[in-house]
């Protein structure tokens, strides 16, 4: 049952990205290009998503278990770390270069755009390097 709701969520997420125009990197870059011809659309996507999200998380926060009886796994960390800021800054450079963040890149991959395949392959490589660095750090701590 839980995979069915996850599938539905992923499908809705994809439909939302497509409807909003955010699967199109040119539109995302239009939002980030405040010095050029600015397209405010991404702000409207965020506003719509956060409006619904705020209501949903109000309910979720009060529950210990989900509607399917699964544990609520909402992040507890509240500390602003250098790692968070540097990671976000690096992510922003990639985002601004291509106009893709992970969700839209996967949608464009599903739509069959060769460059989206290339982007996702490189993204997975970046994630793999992160895993390797994490493991190296853990091994160092163990030693």
């Amino acid at each position: 049952m839980s995979w069915l709701t996850a599938l539905l969520s992923g499908l809705l997420f994809g439909v939302g990205l497509i409807t909003s125009g955010m699967a199109n990197p040119a539109k995302v870059l239009g939002f980030l290009d405040i010095a050029g011809k600015w397209d405010p659309s991404l702000g409207f996507v965020m506003a719509g998503a956060i409006a619904i999200g705020t209501i949903a998380f109000q309910f979720a926060k009060r529950r210990k278990k989900s509607l399917l009886g699964l544990p609520m796994q909402i992040p507890a960390s509240s500390s602003v770390t250098l790692r968070l800021v540097l990671g976000s800054a690096v992510f922003g450079v990639g985002w601004g270069l291509a106009g893709f963040c992970p969700g839209p890149a996967l949608v464009a991959l599903g739509a069959g755009f060769p460059k989206a395949w290339g982007f996702v392959a490189a993204m997975l490589a970046g994630m793999a390097v992160f895993e390797l660095l994490q493991r190296a750090k853990l091994n160092q701590q163990d030693a």
């Binding site: 599938l7 699967a23 539109k27 990639g94 994630m127």
Partner: protein
């Protein structure tokens, strides 16, 4: 600054945003999980038994959405303006950056801000500023 009226789609973008909001609501209320794409994808390889299924299902839904759109006669229009070199560099930076930041536009930008997380607000402000700066340098200073 001038607003690009020809490209601006306030109605559709707001509607799409509401649907994204419903998607995050479904995942947190039924599965108890955050709809953060980089975390769902990046956490897949090392995920413990029983934790992989929902991740695969969510990602499958995301990948099937454009196929469904095509079948309904509305194929996804993605205008990818940059070359292969930029695409590969950008993909790598997005992959490693989002994992170090523990989230991307969905996990921090939508879910984190929705639950009032200061951490996510800082992350979102940082990647937005960094994205704006990158576009400025690449488009206007380097003329790429």
């Amino acid at each position: 600054m001038s607003v690009d009226i020809a490209s601006f789609t306030p109605g559709l973008s707001l509607a799409g945003g509401l649907v994204i909001g419903v998607a995050t609501a479904v995942l947190v209320l039924f599965n108890g999980r955050i709809a953060g794409i980089s975390g769902i994808l990046g956490g897949l390889p090392g995920s413990p038994r029983g934790d992989a299924g929902w991740r695969v299902a969510f990602l499958a839904g995301l990948l099937v959405a454009p196929v469904l759109a095509s079948l309904l006669g509305k194929p996804v229009a993605a205008d990818i303006q940059v070359g292969w070199r930029e695409i590969l560099v950008a993909g790598f930076l997005v992959g490693i950056g989002t994992r170090f930041a523990s989230g991307c536009t969905s996990g921090h930008g939508v879910c984190g801000i929705s639950r009032g997380s200061v951490r996510s607000l800082v992350a979102t402000a940082t990647f937005m500023a960094s994205g704006v700066l990158t576009v400025f340098v690449y488009r206007h200073l380097l003329g790429g």
